[in-house]
């Protein structure tokens, strides 16, 4: 195991009395593709919001020896924690290159901001190759396909040199091939980084997860390898019982396949 881990302890988020996340603990290490799953409204996005400083939370979220909670968003990013959003949010009016260049910019001096860009940073070229976007260098991000936008977001995290990548439903709306490509991409980049994926798609989870945490109503329901989690009766109850129909169906398929 190389590099620092992300350790979340007793994370709590309340929205005016409503407990969205009620004391969640989990950790993630470099080298694994870590999944956070759960039915709609389980609090997955809220967990990421809390870790990245978007939402106020109590408890602790540490990256190595750095406490993340309580810092402003941009400071947390500068500590190496990056994220994507459920809806792809790239700068539509800027080209792929400009998007990546801005993402790479936090390592530059303010003065160099006043100059025009000359050439393409090696880190950007590398991220483009990694995500298969090399041919789209001068394409405005707004006209990329949905899948490409998600890849661009991941590429932005790469040039940002994020050590922790928190990805909120990165394969939602992708075709099967795109999902496979994304999963393989995540496995590659996870070698040296912490990758935490929030996902709905059980099939995708099953294929690419190393460890899984299942959230339900703001609590950790189960934690472990894919097989362990799927064998957990509590998980089966939530997914086969009262939870959201779409997720139930998806999980049922997975459970059947697993036997």
């Amino acid at each position: 195991m190389t590099g620092a881990s992300l350790v979340v302890t007793d994370l709590r988020v309340e929205f005016s009395g409503f407990v969205a996340v009620g004391g969640v603990s989990f950790d993630a290490h470099p080298g694994e593709v870590r999944f956070l799953i759960g039915p709609n409204g389980a609090g997955k996005t809220t967990c990421i919001d809390a870790i990245t400083g978007l939402t106020k939370a109590t408890g602790s979220a540490r990256h190595g020896d750095q406490e993340l909670l309580g810092r402003p968003v941009h400071k947390i990013v500068r500590l190496g924690v990056g994220r994507t959003f459920q809806t792809a949010s790239v700068f539509d009016e800027l080209t792929v290159l400009q998007n990546l260049d801005i993402a790479a910019g936090r390592h530059r001096s303010s003065f160099s901001l006043l100059r025009a860009r000359r050439g393409v940073d090696p880190s950007i070229e590398h991220a483009l190759e990694e995500t298969g976007l090399t041919g789209e260098l001068t394409t405005p991000a707004g006209i990329l396909s949905h899948g490409q936008k998600q890849w661009l977001e991941i590429a932005m995290l790469l040039v940002q040199d994020a050590k922790v990548l928190l990805l909120d439903e990165p394969v939602a709306g992708m075709s099967q091939d795109e999902r496979t490509a994304t999963g393989e991409l995540l496995q590659r980049i996870a070698a040296k980084r912490i990758v935490l994926v929030v996902e709905h798609d059980m099939d995708f989870m099953r294929r690419f997860a190393t460890r899984v945490t299942v959230l339900h109503q703001g609590q950790v329901l189960s934690q472990g390898t894919v097989a362990e989690v799927q064998a957990d009766p509590k998980v089966q109850e939530v997914y086969l019982g009262t939870a959201g129909a779409a997720t139930t169906a998806a999980m049922a398929v997975v459970l059947e396949k697993e036997g």
Binding site: H74, F91, L94, Q98, I102, L113, A116, I143
Partner: protein, 373 residues
């Protein structure tokens, strides 16, 4: 034409725009003095001052998304700094003109004294807007005040400052304003040669401001500013503090407004609260919107056009002019949200409209054409 082009993130070769600035420089600095009468040259100087402020508004609003409705405040900082100096220079050892009318025996207000100095005055024109906009912008942007709240707040400041000046006739000349300047840093303002020099300084400063934003727009900062305008939260998640990005653009726009205000004084010969209040601030915005807020030349040319309308139609048909301006404004907002400068690009797109929807039409050079539009 993609939306990109109209809203300013053109893939235009920056050198074409630079050529455009060159053409404008030749027109303003060489051609205009040869062909225009003294009267119209003076008017063009006045429009140039508004245009300088407009270039700053283009930066803050067009590229930065901050609807700066109170640029009159910064225009006033420059204008009144200059006017106080010229008033004192004109008065020499005697009582300044505005005090003779009201209370010739009163002592000169304390804050006037330093403006006797040329150096202090020039420094004030540059530093006052930087300090005021810096403090104001810091307070507002760190608190994430934006959109309509930001617009209303800046507008309210312009109203407040105009009211303050109106009500302090002993200290500032009140509604009558400051006027009758005889000298401009030692040069007699009556002399046509000196008036030409003052015009050339104003026009030259406009060119300098255009060059400054040209560099801003092609720099990484320009891209970051557009990104902040379009998705402030996203920028935060890339490790930047958007407040700082906006602050830089806001301070630069305030500085430009102050420079415009400072040159306005020797050219027009009078400064009053009416020139810096709500109506004046909105007129500056109107010019920028007409011309095209996110383009390089749109704000300056729009401001000049509105200034020209103001002094031609506005004086021959004062009752009708506000309606003409209002109507023009509505038409542009409705049909050309990116201003008149997006017109050539629109036409080009119409002419070469592909048979079916196509993803990325090649960008066409539009900005040079703006110079002639």
């Amino acid at each position: 034409m993609t939306k990109n082009q109209e809203s300013g993130m053109t893939k235009m070769k920056p050198w074409i725009s630079l050529g455009g600035i060159g053409v404008l420089a030749v027109l303003l600095l060489a051609v205009a003095p040869l062909v225009l009468s003294d009267h119209w040259l003076n008017n063009l100087g006045k429009y140039s001052c508004w245009a300088i402020a407009a270039v700053g508004i283009g930066l803050a609003w067009g590229r930065g998304g901050m609807l700066v409705m109170g640029q009159g405040v910064f225009f006033a900082l420059g204008a009144y700094s200059m006017a106080m100096h010229l008033t004192l220079e004109t008065a020499g050892d005697r009582v300044p003109g505005f005090m003779v009318l009201y209370d010739p025996l009163a002592p000169l207000p304390m804050f006037w004294e330093p403006f006797r100095s040329t150096g202090f005055t020039l420094l004030a024109i540059v530093l006052l807007p930087v300090v005021v906009a810096g403090a104001l912008g810091y307070a507002l942007f760190k608190r994430r005040v934006k959109g309509a709240y930001f617009a209303i707040l800046t507008q309210a400041l312009a109203v407040a400052l105009a009211t303050l000046i109106s009500s302090t006739i002993r200290e500032t000349g009140g509604d009558t304003g400051l006027s009758d300047f005889k000298y401009f840093f030692g040069f007699v303002l009556n002399d046509p040669a000196n008036r030409l020099m003052v015009y050339l300084i104003a026009a030259g400063l406009l060119i300098v401001c255009l060059l400054a934003v040209w560099q801003f727009y092609r720099s990484r900062f320009g891209e970051l500013l557009v990104a902040t305008r379009d998705a402030e939260e996203r920028v935060r998640f890339l490790g930047y503090d958007p407040a700082n990005v906006k602050l830089v653009a806001f301070v630069v726009s305030a500085l430009m407004a102050s420079i415009g205000g400072a040159m306005f004084v020797p050219i027009v010969g009078i400064i009053t609260p009416a020139e810096i209040g709500a109506a004046a601030s909105i007129l500056m915005i109107a010019g920028v919107a007409l011309g095209g807020r996110a383009s390089l030349f749109g704000p300056a040319l729009g401001a000049m056009a509105v200034g020209w309308g103001q002094s031609s139609l506005g004086s021959t048909w004062p009752d009708g002019w506000p309606y003409v301006l209002g109507l023009l404004f509505i038409v542009v907002i409705l049909f050309l949200p990116y201003g008149l400068s997006s017109l050539p690009a629109r036409f080009a797109a119409l002419r070469r409209r592909p048979p079916k929807e196509q993803p990325a039409p090649a960008p066409a050079p539009a900005e040079l054409e703006e110079v002639h539009s």
